[in-house]
């Protein structure tokens, strides 16, 4: 639905060049919720603004719903009629809502319809329908200044849907909201995704957002996509940074001669009593250092950091057992890290 190839954006100011995007290839499938996560400065905001060409990429192409937008862009900073037409079919939701304070809620939702040239009657019918969809029908005559943050974002979403878009871009849409409101807005996005078959591309710096609604995700750093794929794929990828971030499991080994193992459960394995089986079969004591269980994209997924007595060499068989159960097992390099830290300390001391 959305494909970017080799998307690059370089900002030039006063002779300095800043590369915000460095060859980003993204593929968002129709009907999925795709999350791009990264810290501020990672280029994710530039990325989403390049998708509807609010920001013109230096090179690379953007295709939305089979239409090559970069080809429509033309030259100069002004958007031609073809690009504006294409934009009206892409909804966008913003972190700071960007509602016109001089217009009522209903008039805000009508704005894109005015741009599309609908008659007054049709506009008001459609606007009320959309407000009803986001659960704000009774606030139609209120001004944005009288609404709470969550309500404002609902208006923002209703407005974004006015052009019957196939694609919704969400630029940190929940970052200015409290956790409770964030959940309700995410739920709304999820519902719209399912009811209307809307493809959602969202950027966020909150892992929780990805965890609660995304089917797929990409991790951005320094203008590049480091990892991407469906959440299940990411969780199945050994050493995936996103998977580790989604399910951070901490905990240090209780002493030397211990093996720390990170186990990831998903699918059927998540419902099996694997740990107690392991303990009984090999008659070993297992301590759980850290664990996280959650539902991601409607599937039970969990990660657990467990500690087995003895060094790695002595635990090859139990680890093999875990692998046989269909679990993804990684032996955590905790001790290696500790040694490296100790080395560093020694060097520091030598200086």
């Amino acid at each position: 639905m959305i494909t970017t190839t080799g998307l690059t954006k370089v900002y030039r100011s006063r002779g300095r060049e800043v590369t915000a995007l460095d060859g980003v290839d993204l593929h968002v499938r129709e009907g999925e919720v795709y999350g791009v996560i990264g810290q501020s400065g990672a280029g994710k905001s530039t990325l989403i603004r390049c998708v509807n060409l609010l920001e013109r990429p230096t090179s690379g192409t953007v295709t939305v719903a089979g239409q090559d937008l970069t080809a429509l862009a033309g030259r100069g900073p002004r958007a031609g009629a073809a690009l504006r037409q294409a934009r009206s079919r892409i909804g966008m939701v913003f972190q700071h809502f960007n509602l016109l304070s001089s217009r009522t809620v209903q008039a805000n939702v009508e704005l894109p319809l005015e741009i599309l040239g609908l008659s007054g009657k049709e506009r008001s019918r459609k606007a009320l329908e959309l407000l009803d969809l986001v659960g704000l029908a009774e606030k139609a005559k209120a001004y944005p200044g009288q609404l709470s943050g969550g309500q404002k974002q609902r208006v923002g979403i209703a407005r974004a849907l006015a052009g019957d878009p196939k694609v919704l871009l969400s630029d940190e849409s929940t970052s200015a909201l409290d956790p409770e409101t964030t959940r309700s807005i995410l739920q709304l996005l999820r519902d719209l995704n399912q009811q209307l078959g809307l493809t959602v591309l969202l950027i966020t710096h909150e892992m929780d957002v990805v965890k609660s609604i995304c089917d797929s995700a990409a991790l951005m750093k320094g203008g590049r996509v480091m990892e991407s794929g469906t959440v299940a794929e990411l969780l199945a990828t050994p050493g995936s940074e996103l998977a580790a971030e989604l399910f951070p499991v901490g905990g240090e080994p209780s002493g030397p001669d211990r093996t720390v193992v990170d186990v990831t459960f998903h699918g059927d394995a998540a419902t099996q009593p694997v740990i107690s089986q392991l303990s009984r079969t090999y008659n070993i004591d297992i301590s759980i250092l850290g664990a996280a269980m959650d539902t991601v994209a409607g599937r039970q997924v969990g990660r657990m950091r467990i500690e087995l007595p003895g060094r790695f060499e002595e635990n090859v068989v139990p680890i093999g057992f875990l692998r046989e159960q269909g679990l993804q097992v990684e032996v955590a390099p905790v001790t290696a890290g500790a040694e490296a830290a100790a080395d560093a300390l020694l060097k520091e001391g030598a200086k």
């Binding site: 900073p77 934009r87 009206s88 913003f94 016109l100 001089s102 200044g145 407005r159």
Partner: protein, 261 residues
Amino acid sequence: MQPLLRDGCLDTLFMVWWSAVWTVVGGLPLGILLYLTDRGGLLQNVVVNKVIGVVVNIARSVPFIILIVWLIPFSRMVIGTSIGPSAAVVALTIGAIPFFARLVETSLREVDGGLIEAVQAMGGGTWTIIFKVLLPQALASLVAGLTTTVIALIGYSAMAGAVGGGGLGAVAINYGYQRQEHELMNITIVLLVIIVTVVQIAGDLTVRRLARRTGRQSAPVGLWRLRRTPKAADATAVPAQRAADEPQRAADEPKAAVDAP
């Protein structure tokens, strides 16, 4: 009321009303153009922006009394005469347009860039942005700017009296000063104060009504903001600096009111 004062009043109101109308007609588009062609603007065009900017600054730096004399041939060309209230309207308008254009530019700058982006994302073009975002969002601030401009025009119109423009200024100078009729001079001043006060209050009320409509999002508009006369430098000043300038500005105001012409 003496016919002299009544005619003076009517002439002043005539001059101020028409010059205000033409100032909006000329200054609003010019201010919008200044805003749009600026660096990073929707229609970024350094050459156009610089040219307009220089013309506006030159026009603003010429003292009005000189401008009105200098424009005599032009007034004659446009209206057919260089004396009387109609001729004064030409000079007043030309004097006020650059002033108002700068105020318009400053007001538009206060509109949140995110709103423009949102409308662009909906597929809106430049006209849509001007008429559906910039002007409605900046309306309260524009009305405040217009109030300032009208009050400046009342001051200018008194000067028009000095060169045969008529109005209360002419009454004050011809009778109050030259014939030493102090009472008449004082009455003129009172009348001018009343006119200015009425304009200011009407402006304030309108601004407040517009601001209330937009709810919490717009900042309260204080008197200092209505009266201040931003210079080009204000446009780039950071808000913190503005805040720091405030007491200074307030202290300067009585003086500025006297110096304004």
